[in-house]
Amino acid sequence: MSKKDLYMAELIFNLGRFVEQPLGLGPEERLSQIPENCYISQHIKGDYTAMTGVYGSDDVLKSFAEKYSKMDLSAEPGLMGELVADFLNLHNGLFIVNLSESENIESTLTVPSFDPNAAPGDIFGELYSVSVEFPFGTLCFLLSESL
């Protein structure tokens, strides 16, 4: 299994474990650049290097953040990006632990970014997007790995 496929397989597992079981996955799409509305991202660096991200409508991101955190964000909508980034960090962390244990590949993570005004991070190679359908809407997850 390629690292990309491993990343996506673990993503689905972690979504089910920590957020909600996805209803389905869309086809993998190759993008030429990071979508403008993708401001939640994190880089994996080390023996395995990649850019990861997540994007979607604010309504779906808010529902995702509420499911993940078990918090009501009605009074604190500003926490939405931080909480989604928290999930991305958790998933990426578990992914690199798995890489370390199963393949002796050592990587670390950068601090996740969730500032809508920040410039998008660097991409390293081909940029893939996978849409994940939940009962509350669809989110897209990005991966661009250095090969």
């Binding site: 909480l83 960090n89 958790l90 962390g93 578990l94 632990v97 370390s100 993570l109 601090v111």
Partner: protein, 126 residues
């Protein structure tokens, strides 16, 4: 020493991680809990308050948790530091122990794991 008497420092840039740890500590009877958000604040706060236990994340802004652990242990070789991180790779484990951490918990830690840490410090049977 009881859990209620413990001075605890949580250092994590993740709001959710801090909340989850704080809830677990409060449920275990801890009352004196301070929270900071980056490694430099953890070092500064440790020097000021000398907490009994420090829960320290690794990937953080300003100063990472491994560097913060090293600096805290240079200040106090008896510091009781538990790394709590999503990046629990063998390399990070080795670095954390080398920096002076007593243990490493993979995120998200369970309330049981948190209670185990507390009992190791208080010496109380669980």
């Amino acid at each position: 020493m009881t859990n209620e008497e413990l001075k605890i420092l949580i250092c994590d840039d993740s709001l959710l991680a801090r909340k989850s740890l704080r809830d677990a500590l409060k449920n275990a009877g801890c009352t004196e809990i301070k929270e900071v958000y980056d490694g430099q604040s953890a070092v500064d706060s440790y020097k000021e308050d000398k907490p009994d236990i420090v829960f320290l994340d690794i990937v953080m802004p300003v100063k990472d948790g491994i560097t913060a652990a090293r600096e805290i242990c240079e200040f106090d070789e008896n510091a009781y530091i538990i790394m709590v991180s999503s990046v629990g790779t063998q390399l990070h484990l080795r670095e954390a122990i080398k920096a002076g951490a007593k243990d490493f918990l993979q995120k998200p830690p369970t309330p049981e794991q948190v209670k185990n840490v507390l009992s190791q410090v208080t010496g109380e049977e669980r």
